[in-house]
């Protein structure tokens, strides 16, 4: 068997290609909104205005430009966070089929964030009798929704790790079944909440509905900040877990015998993966499969070591999600599909492909 492993030269080439592609794609994305197109001079002026170096574009055009820019940055941050979260989970569970959506972590973040939306949508204050603290919380809604999403994601991550692992080993079928069960439970709870909201508060119901399919539209600078803070936290953690995850590949006991603090690594990975996924989900809603598809594509390109896999997954995730959205805007001239729907259409068949492929690649020593 020849081992498809990327050389350091291939790593340099890939990094350069991605490094050129990402700013190019960001520029392409900023030049074209759903209905408004900007020229290169407007792009530079709009960007200058955001940085306080130029006068704003005329009338509503600066506002639209900033919305498109926010959308672009959110797409990059969400793609990077979800892909990084997926790669981390694949490493710690030693399984290429793990991802925040399949394990239910995205759904957990979704449930937490939905409860957060309800809280700031009025129900929190009403339910607990208008406590001043919650009224204050309403003013900081994106942050609160992120925090409740993070709590939900962490809860599910630790539930999966506890139920899916027996004596330090993770059974893959158990892991996937736990994910199915958690996804089903949370989908049921969310449907019940949705039904209740439709009867009681149409506005909040609509917000939850739009959010549950994932959306990159109408994002604020605060939300850009939240997503990028999650992605930055994940990126800062990578040096502390990448080599460790390489040693995890041959088993947890193997890693521990070589000197890895396995408990600390697992905790760090689960918290980071939950944080990255929940920041993404709280801002952009549930976008499935990015966390599964992107690390696998990077692996298929020959980058198997987590030292290269993790950073390349982050850049690749940004390229993937933004690329799909930009392609839709340029080719279809409108946003026909929400990003969650688009990713499911790509990710679902890819997941099946991986399952079929892994059937013939089960190797044990």
């Amino acid at each position: 068997m020849s081992l498809p492993s990327a050389t350091s030269r291939a790593g340099v080439i890939t990094t350069v290609v991605m490094g050129v592609a990402l700013p190019g794609l960001v520029a392409l994305s900023c030049l074209k909104g759903t209905t408004t197109t900007f020229g290169l001079d407007e792009f530079l002026q709009g960007l200058g205005s955001i940085l306080g170096l130029a006068t704003p574009l005329e009338g509503y055009r600066q506002l639209v430009f900033e919305l498109v820019t926010c959308k672009t940055l959110v797409a990059c941050g969400v793609g990077a966070s979800l892909a990084c979260s997926g790669a981390l989970l694949q490493g710690v569970f030693r399984n290429g089929l793990a991802s925040p959506s399949i394990l239910g972590i995205t759904a957990g973040a979704g449930l937490g964030a939905t409860l957060g939306i309800m809280l700031v949508g009025g129900y929190g204050s009403n339910v607990v009798g208008g406590i001043a603290l919650l009224d204050q919380a309403a003013k900081h809604s994106p942050l609160l929704v992120t925090l409740t999403g993070f709590a939900g994601a962490c809860g599910v991550a630790f539930l999966v790790a506890t139920i899916g692992g027996v004596a330090g080993r993770v059974s893959v079928p158990t892991l996937l079944l736990v994910g199915i069960a958690i996804n089903a439970c949370i989908a049921g709870i969310l449907a019940a909440i949705q039904a209740w909201l439709v009867e009681h508060d149409w506005q909040t119901a609509e917000a939850v509905y739009h959010w549950s399919f994932g959306s990159l539209k109408d994002k604020s600078w605060t939300q850009v900040g939240i997503v990028w803070a999650g992605a930055a936290c994940a990126a800062l953690t990578l040096p502390f877990v990448a080599r460790e995850l390489d040693l995890f590949a041959a088993g947890e006991e193997n890693a521990e015998s070589l000197g890895v603090n396995t408990l600390r690594t697992k905790l760090l990975v689960l918290v980071t993966a939950s944080l990255a996924a929940s920041a993404a989900v709280a801002v952009a809603g549930q976008i499935a499969f990015v966390g599964l598809v992107v690390p696998q594509l990077v692996r298929l390109a020959g980058f198997r070591s987590y030292r290269t896999l993790l950073p390349l997954s982050m850049v690749g995730g940004a390229l993937f999600l933004l690329g799909a959205d930009v392609a839709q805007r340029y080719l279809l001239e409108r946003e026909l599909f929400k990003p969650g729907v688009l990713m499911s259409m790509i990710g679902g068949p890819f997941f099946l492909f991986l399952l079929v492929r892994s059937r013939s690649q089960v190797r044990m020593w």
């Binding site: 081992l3 492993s5 006991e253 521990e256 015998s257 000197g259």
Partner: protein, 268 residues
């Protein structure tokens, strides 16, 4: 004294007592073979010494210093554990796999040092793997993979190697090669403790034999003291035949005669 375990006990969840009140000490230059029937607690003892399984009673000291507060890295710099096999086959080259043994010597942001490279090259040479450094691990035979595991442990540059059934599933030629490699380490100020089921390899190579049964130590002595009917029969039953082989050079044992113990079909 390199390592000393006193009153070691380990009880698995569910109440199965795998080790009970076991004392074991290992000194530099020793090659200790740990023998015993299946379920005797051999692998549990090795993992307990390696810090991979918590002991439920007793204490382990390294040169007289308690090991309980050691970090996994501190432990891995002093003792290396070679498992029987790995849970999954790593899809890396032999060189990369052996270099993983240097993890405990590296910091989070430190790059590969000349010492790391030298240790890996030396380990590859010692395990006769230098020509295979660029080969993929999945391409190797069972014997080559076993040598890779030993080489990775050598790259750790630890003073003690704990090896679990190193000749499992190997042909006779490779069994001898692995034991010769292990034996050569004891000449370099290191000690080795290995679990094996092969009484005759233990007879040829061990400087000391520890015999376990039901989680307890039933014998601890030289090859000729332990590999004899009165000691082995209560543990392995009557299905063994005993003989001896005269060897010209004494080697690590205490006489020129080495016992041979063969499993033999029963007459009934």
């Amino acid at each position: 004294m390199l390592i000393e375990g006193r009153g070691l006990a380990h009880t698995y969840p569910g109440g199965v007592e795998a080790l009970a009140d076991l004392d074991l000490s290992i000194s530099t230059g020793e090659l200790i073979c740990i023998l015993g029937p299946n379920g005797a607690g051999k692998s549990t003892l090795l993992k307990a010494l390696a810090g991979l399984l918590p002991i439920t009673a007793g204490s382990i000291a390294w040169r007289g210093e308690p090991m309980i507060s050691w970090s996994p890295k501190q432990r891995a710099r002093r003792l290396a554990f070679v498992p029987q096999s790995l849970m999954a086959l790593p899809e890396v080259t032999v060189g990369t796999f052996v270099a993983q043994g240097r993890y405990a010597h590296q910091g989070v942001f430190t790059r590969v040092t000349p010492e790391d490279r030298q240790a890996v090259e030396q380990a590859l040479d010692q395990a006769d793997l230098a020509d295979l450094a660029d080969r993929a691990m999945p391409d190797l035979s069972g014997g080559q993979r076993q040598r890779c595991l030993v080489a990775r442990a050598l790259a750790q540059q630890s003073e003690l190697l704990l090896i679990d059934e190193p000749t499992n599933a190997l042909d006779p030629e490779h069994q001898i090669a692995i034991f010769q490699l292990i034996e050569s380490l004891t000449h370099e100020e290191r000690a080795v403790a290995g679990v094996t089921h092969d009484l005759n390899l233990a007879s040829q190579f061990a400087s000391r034999i520890v015999l376990l049964n039901d989680g307890r130590k039933v014998a601890d002595g030289t090859v000729n003291e332990v590999l004899e009917r009165s000691v082995l029969e209560p543990v392995y039953g009557p299905g063994l035949r005993y003989s001896s082989w005269k060897i010209e050079e004494g080697g690590a044992g205490d006489s020129g005669e080495r016992p041979i113990v063969l499993p033999w079909r029963s007459n009934s």
